[in-house]
C-alpha cells in the first residue's frame, strides 16, 4: 500500500531550547522540550510555541505557508519591507541572523523577492529558532539562529507528492534505493511567475503600470541520500541549489535586474560511541552569490551600475555529546570554516556626457578567512524546577588583508547563559545572557531603493561585530492560555556603515573599507506574547515595544539615529477557528492582523536654490540627518479558509485573501530622473491566495 507521504509542511517549530527531533537523538542528548502543542513547564527562556495547524493555515501572498513568515509574527522580530522574508531580531541587522540547513548556513534564504523561503518545506523535518541562550555549536551570528533539519527519504516504500500554489509548483519523491539501508529524498520546485506575468500583460494589452519585459527564473532543487550503515552509524549526502533571477523594464528607459543563488553540498555522519557518547560530524561546501543592477538612460548618458557579491565556504565540524546522569549533560566540539568573499560594485557609462571614460568595472577583491571554533556546553537540571545552560566558544580568526601583506589574526571568546526557575507549577521565571561575535558584516547605509545586501568580510579596519544581550521574563499558563512577558537590553559593537551611498559605485569601492565607519548600536524593548489553544478557537497575539539606535563617527553629526528597521510598535494577532471537523473533512477559518510602525529612510529635509557662474539657478536637496523619515505605518489583514478532505488521498486546499484592506505598503522605491522625484512601488494590493496539496 502506498504509504502516506506527508506533503504538508511538517514543521514542528520547537521552543528555543529544543534540538532532538529524530529517533536516535544523536545530536542533542539533553532533555528536550520538543513541543508540538503546549508543555509550558518545559519551555525555555525566549521560547515560542508555534502550532503546526496554525502555520499550515496561515495566509500568505504566495499561497504557500512559510515558516519565516511565521517567525516574523513573533515578539522581538521586526520585518523588512512588504513581502520580504528579512528579519531584524532585537535590533540586529538582517545579516546578524543565521539560517542553517543541516548545519550549513544559507545566506540567500528566500524566493520571489522574499515572499517565501528558498528551501522546500516538504523536505523539512524540524525547525529550531533561537534568539537567546545560544548553544555551543551556534556561532558566527549575533541576533538569531534558525536551524533547519531535513527529513530522510523513506526506507520502506516509494512516496510521491505534488503541490501547487499561487507562485510555486513542486514535486517530491521519497524512495528506498536499497530497502532499509539506502534512501533518497528529492524535491524540485519552479515558479511560473514569469510566464504568468507575461500572460496577464498580454491580456492587459501592454505594460502594467510602467513595468514591461518582466523576466523571472525561480527554482530550487534538493536531493539527499541516507545510508544506514549499522545501528550505530548513519551517513548522508545532500545537495541543495536555488536560484532567483529577475529583470524588468521600467518606464521605457530603465532596465533593472536582481538575482541571488545558493549551492550547498553536505556530507554528514552520525554515530554512537562508547560509554554513552555520540558524535555528529561532517564537511560541507556552500556558495552564495547575489547581484542587483540598473541600466538607465539619463539625459543621453547610459548608466549601468550594479552591486555584486559572492561568498564561498568550506566547513568541517564535529560535535560530541553525552547525556550524563540526567541532571548534567555535556556537549563539546569544534568547527573549521574557510571562507572567501568577493564583494564589489561596478559602474559604466556610455552615450554622451562628461561621465564617459569614468567607468569603474567590477574587479575581484577576494578576501580569504579561516575561523576555527572550539565549543563546550553544559546543562544542569534539578527536576522540573530549575535548569541552567552554559555554553562557551573560543574562535580563532585569520584573514588576509587587501591593505597590507599582514594577516589579520584574532582570538574571540563567546559565552551564553540560560536559566529557568519554576516558582510554581504555573509560573516560571527565565533569563538569558549572551556575548556573541560575528565575522562578516552586512553593510548598512545602502541607498534608498536598493535591496541587495553587500556582505563584506571582517578586516583590520572593520573588526568582528560583537553583541551583548540580556533578557529576563516570566512565563505563565492557566488552562488553555499561555502568557509570556519579558524585556531585553542589547548592545552591539563594530557595526559597519557606508559613509556616502553615492560613492558605492565609484572606483573608490575597490577600497570599500576606506568609505565605511565603524560604530555601535543599542536596542531595548519589552515583549509580550499571548496564546490560547482551544478546541475550536486558537489565538496568538504578539506585541513588541522597542527602540533601536545606531551611532557612528562622522555620521549624523556623531549623534545617534534610528536603525533602518527600528519599528517602535509591532503587533501581530492571528486567530484560527474550526468550523467543522469530522471523519471526512475539516474546515477552518484563519485571520492575521499585522500592525507595525513604519521603518526609517534617509531623505532630504528641504531644498534651497543654488546658482552657477552663468547665473543659472537650480535647486538642491538639503539632508539634515540619517534615517530622518519614518515611513507610513504598515498595516495588513489576511483572511483565509482551509479545507482538508480526508479521503483515500488526503487533500488540503487553502484559499484566502491577502491584504484585505488593500493597503499599499511599500516594497521598493524607484527614482524618476525626469521629474527628480521618488515613486513608491507596492506589489501586493488586495489579492487572492491559494494552495493545494495532495498526498499519494
Amino acid at each position: 500500500m502506498t504509504k502516506r507521504l506527508i506533503l504538508f509542511i511538517s514543521l514542528i517549530l520547537l521552543p528555543f531550547c529544543v534540538q532532538a527531533q529524530d529517533v536516535k537523538e544523536l545530536r542533542d542528548t539533553l532533555r528536550s522540550s520538543l513541543v508540538v502543542s503546549d508543555k509550558p513547564a518545559e519551555r525555555d527562556a525566549g521560547s515560542r510555541i508555534i502550532e503546526l495547524p496554525a502555520l499550515r493555515t496561515m495566509v500568505s501572498a504566495t499561497g504557500e505557508a512559510d515558516p519565516i513568515k511565521f517567525v516574523q509574527t513573533l515578539p522581538g522580530v521586526s520585518t523588512g519591507v512588504e513581502g520580504s522574508s528579512a528579519i531584524y531580531v532585537r535590533g540586529g541587522n538582517v545579516g546578524s541572523n543565521q539560517t542553517t540547513l543541516d548545519g550549513v548556513p544559507i545566506y540567500g534564504g528566500s524566493h520571489l523577492l522574499g515572499l517565501t523561503s528558498s528551501y522546500p518545506a516538504d523536505v523539512v523535518s524540524s525547525m529550531n529558532i533561537r534568539i537567546g541562550g545560544f548553544r555551543g555549536d551556534e556561532g558566527n551570528m549575533t541576533a538569531s539562529h534558525i536551524g533547519i533539519r531535513t527529513a530522510d527519504g523513506s526506507f520502506s516504500q516509494r512516496e510521491v507528492g505534488f503541490s501547487a500554489s499561487s507562485f510555486i509548483l513542486g514535486g517530491t519523491v521519497s524512495t528506498p534505493i536499497v530497502k532499509d539501508r539506502l534512501s533518497l529524498l528529492a524535491s524540485a520546485r519552479v515558479s511560473p511567475i514569469g510566464p504568468e506575468f507575461r500572460a496577464v500583460q498580454a491580456m492587459a494589452g501592454g505594460a502594467l503600470d510602467s513595468l514591461s519585459r518582466v523576466r523571472a527564473a525561480v527554482y530550487d532543487l534538493f536531493a539527499k541520500v541516507k545510508w544506514l550503515r549499522d545501528e550505530d552509524n548513519t551517513y548522508s549526502a545532500s545537495i541543495f541549489t536555488s536560484r532567483d533571477a529577475y529583470s524588468y523594464c521600467y518606464g521605457g528607459d530603465s532596465n533593472e535586474r536582481l538575482g541571488w543563488g545558493n549551492m550547498i553540498i553536505n556530507l554528514h555522519h552520525e554515530g554512537n560511541l562508547r560509554k554513552g557518547w555520540a558524535v555528529e560530524d561532517g564537511i560541507a561546501y556552500n556558495r552564495f552569490s547575489n547581484s542587483q543592477g540598473i541600466v538607465r538612460d539619463m539625459s543621453g548618458t547610459v548608466n549601468d551600475i550594479a552591486i555584486v557579491s559572492s561568498l564561498d565556504e568550506i566547513t568541517a565540524d564535529a560535535v560530541y555529546s553525552h547525556a550524563g546522569t540526567g541532571r548534567v549533560g555535556f556537549r563539546t566540539g569544534f568547527r573549521e570554516r574557510f571562507t572567501w568573499f568577493n564583494p564589489g560594485t561596478s559602474s559604466t557609462f556610455s552615450g554622451s556626457g562628461s561621465l564617459l571614460g569614468l567607468d569603474s568595472p567590477r574587479t575581484d577583491h577576494i578576501t580569504h578567512s579561516s575561523i576555527t571554533t572550539v565549543h563546550v556546553q553544559m546543562d544542569i537540571r534539578s527536576g522540573e524546577r530549575f535548569h541552567l545552560m552554559s555554553s562557551s566558544r573560543i574562535n580563532a580568526f585569520v584573514a588576509d588583508q587587501q591593505e597590507t601583506s599582514h594577516l589579520n589574526f584574532r582570538i574571540n571568546p563567546e559565552l551564553s547563559l540560560e536559566a529557568g526557575l519554576s516558582l510554581t507549577s504555573w509560573l516560571k521565571f527565565e533569563a538569558t545572557a549572551d556575548w556573541t561575535v560575528q565575522y562578516h558584516h552586512t553593510l548598512e547605509g545602502i541607498p534608498l531603493g536598493w535591496s541587495a545586501d553587500l556582505i563584506v568580510p571582517t578586516s583590520i579596519s572593520c573588526p568582528p561585530e560583537q553583541a551583548r544581550q540580556y533578557y529576563a521574563g516570566i512565563f505563565t499558563s492557566f488552562g488553555q492560555h499561555r502568557v509570556t512577558a519579558g524585556a531585553y537590553d542589547k548592545t552591539m559593537h563594530n557595526l559597519v556603515y557606508f559613509l556616502d551611498a553615492g560613492q558605492l559605485f565609484s572606483p573608490t569601492i575597490s577600497g570599500w573599507s576606506n568609505n565605511v565607519k565603524v560604530g555601535r548600536g543599542t536596542s531595548r524593548g519589552v515583549e509580550f506574547l499571548y496564546e490560547k489553544d482551544g478546541e475550536r478557537l486558537d489565538l496568538h497575539a504578539a506585541y513588541t515595544l522597542s527602540k533601536t539606535d545606531r551611532q557612528f563617527d562622522m555620521v549624523n553629526n556623531n549623534l545617534p539615529f534610528p536603525a533602518k528597521f527600528d519599528r517602535r510598535h509591532i503587533l501581530n494577532v492571528s486567530a484560527s477557528y474550526v468550523l467543522s471537523d469530522d471523519d471526512r473533512r475539516r474546515i477552518s477559518l484563519t485571520g492575521l492582523y499585522a500592525l507595525q510602525s513604519g521603518h526609517w529612510e534617509t531623505v532630504a529635509a528641504g531644498e534651497y536654490p543654488v546658482f552657477s557662474i552663468t547665473g543659472e539657478e537650480s535647486t538642491f536637496d538639503y539632508f539634515s540627518g540619517v534615517n530622518n523619515y519614518e515611513m507610513p505605518t504598515y498595516v495588513r489583514l489576511d483572511i483565509g479558509c482551509n479545507f482538508t478532505f480526508r479521503t483515500r488521498y488526503e487533500q488540503s486546499l487553502n484559499i484566502g485573501v491577502y491584504n484585505v484592506l488593500n493597503r499599499h505598503n511599500p516594497l521598493s522605491f524607484i527614482y524618476d530622473d525626469k521629474t527628480r522625484t521618488w515613486r513608491k512601488v507596492s506589489l501586493f494590493p488586495i489579492m487572492p491566495s491559494f494552495s493545494y496539496r495532495i498526498e499519494l
Binding site: A204, G300, N303, Y622, Y671, W678, I686
Partner: protein, 363 residues
C-alpha cells in the same frame, strides 16, 4: 497560459476520487481569479518624502564685489519639501567685519539692512569699500538661533587685454577668428599671482534683437585650464552654423582653415572655462559655436572674466558637478551629502568676486 494549471488539474482528476473532481472545478475558477488578480499588482505611486522638520537651517547668499558701493545679501530659510515658498528672514542683525592686510589700518564694520523680503543691502560708505585682497568676516544674528559666521578673502584680479592675430591668407590680411588674451599687468616686470578665474562668453547668437545668450562652449590652450567640464567633443568636430553666404564664405574660409591648423585639437568645455590662475604671457580663447561670417553684422559679444575667492570657487565647482551628476549619473541620487557651503551654522555661500567684461569680435 492556462496550460500548466489545466494539465495539472487533469492529472489530479485522473488519480483522485469524486471530491477531487469537485476540487478541480474550484481550482480552475481560482486559477482564473488568480491570473486576473495579477493585473492588480505592481502599483506605482509618487511619494513625497517630507520629514516635516521644523528647525530648518538658514540660507545665506552674499558675494562681495569691490566694484559695487552697495553690497547685497540674501537671507532666507531652507524650504521644507512640502512647503510652497521660501520664508525670508527680515528680522536679524547682519554685518561684515573687514580687516585689511595692512595691520595698522582699522577694522571696519559694514552693516546691512533689510530692503524687502530676503534682500539685505549694506550701507553706502566710501570709506568701507570692499578691497581686493581684503579679508572679511560675516556675522548673522537671528533671534532664537545661534549666530551664523562665514569668512572670505577678496580675490586678486587684473583686467585682461584682448589681442587679435593678423595673418596673411593669399592676398588678404585677415583677423583671426579666435581671441588672444594677454594679461594687462600693472607692472610687466613684476607678476602678480591671480585668483582662480571663470570665463564665459555672452552675446546674441542668432538675431540681434534677442536677449544675450551664453555661448554653449569654449576652447582654450591655457595650460592651467580645469578639464572638469569638458563635453567629450573636440574642436576639430565643430561645424559652422548660420546662413552660408557662399561668396562671403569663399573669402573667409581660408581664415577658418588656418585657425584649425593653428589651434591644436583641443577639447571643448561646456559654457565656461575655469583657470587656476591667469599668470601666463598669453593664451588663446575661442567661444562657439562657429558662425558663418556675415557682412555688416554688428557684434556685441563679450567675454566675462570673473576672479573668485576660494570659497566661491569651490561652491561653483560643486554646483556644476552636482548638476551634471543629477542629469547624467544615476548614482548621484543616492548621495546624501550636502552641497558645499562655507556658512558656519547654515547653508549657502559667502564669497567675493571681481569681474571684467571684454568685448570681442569674431570676424
Amino acid at each position: 497560459m492556462f496550460g500548466p494549471h489545466i494539465a495539472y488539474n487533469v492529472l489530479i482528476a485522473y488519480v483522485c476520487n469524486v471530491e477531487t473532481i469537485y476540487l478541480f472545478y474550484i481550482m480552475r475558477n481560482i486559477a482564473c481569479i488568480f491570473l486576473l488578480s495579477l493585473s492588480l499588482t505592481s502599483c506605482v505611486e509618487t511619494i513625497v518624502f517630507d520629514p516635516g522638520e521644523k528647525n530648518l537651517p538658514v540660507m545665506v547668499t552674499c558675494l562681495l564685489d569691490p566694484d559695487h558701493d552697495v553690497q547685497k545679501l540674501y537671507l532666507q530659510y531652507v524650504k521644507g519639501k512640502s512647503a510652497a515658498e521660501y520664508v525670508p528672514i527680515e528680522d536679524a542683525e547682519v554685518y561684515v567685519t573687514s580687516k585689511y592686510f595692512v595691520s595698522y589700518l582699522p577694522v571696519d564694520t559694514l552693516h546691512f539692512h533689510n530692503v524687502h523680503g530676503n534682500l539685505w543691502e549694506s550701507q553706502k560708505d566710501p570709506a568701507k569699500k570692499i578691497k581686493e585682497g581684503g579679508e572679511y568676516h560675516l556675522s548673522v544674528i537671528i533671534p532664537g538661533r545661534e549666530t551664523i559666521h562665514a569668512e572670505t578673502t577678496c580675490p586678486t584680479a587684473y583686467a585682461p587685454a584682448l589681442y587679435t592675430d593678423l595673418y596673411e591668407v593669399g592676398s588678404w590680411t585677415e583677423h583671426s577668428v579666435y581671441c588672444q588674451i594677454k594679461p594687462a599687468y600693472p607692472n610687466e616686470n613684476k607678476q602678480i599671482r591671480t585668483s582662480t578665474v571663470w570665463i564665459f562668453a555672452k552675446g546674441k547668437l542668432k538675431k540681434k534683437d534677442e536677449c544675450d545668450e551664453i555661448y554653449p562652449y569654449m576652447v582654450t590652450d591655457h595650460p592651467c585650464v580645469d578639464d572638469f567640464n569638458v563635453n567629450g567633443r573636440k574642436f576639430s568636430e565643430l561645424e559652422l552654423i548660420g546662413d552660408n553666404d557662399g561668396q562671403v564664405m569663399q573669402v573667409f574660409w581660408p581664415a577658418y582653415e588656418n585657425m584649425r591648423r593653428m589651434m591644436p585639437d583641443l577639447p571643448m568645455h561646456d559654457e565656461f572655462i575655469r583657470l587656476e590662475h591667469m599668470d601666463t604671457s598669453r593664451f588663446h580663447l575661442l567661444a562657439g559655436p562657429l558662425e558663418y561670417p556675415q557682412m555688416g553684422k554688428p557684434h556685441q559679444d563679450y567675454l566675462n572674466f570673473t576672479f573668485v575667492s576660494k570659497e566661491y570657487d569651490e561652491y561653483l565647482r560643486n554646483v556644476y558637478t552636482r548638476n551634471q551628476k543629477l542629469d547624467h549619473d544615476l548614482t548621484s541620487i543616492f548621495s546624501t551629502a550636502n552641497a558645499y557651503s562655507n556658512i558656519d551654522g547654515g547653508v549657502g555661500i559667502f564669497g567675493s568676486e571681481v569681474s571684467y567684461k571684454v568685448g570681442f569680435l569674431l570676424n
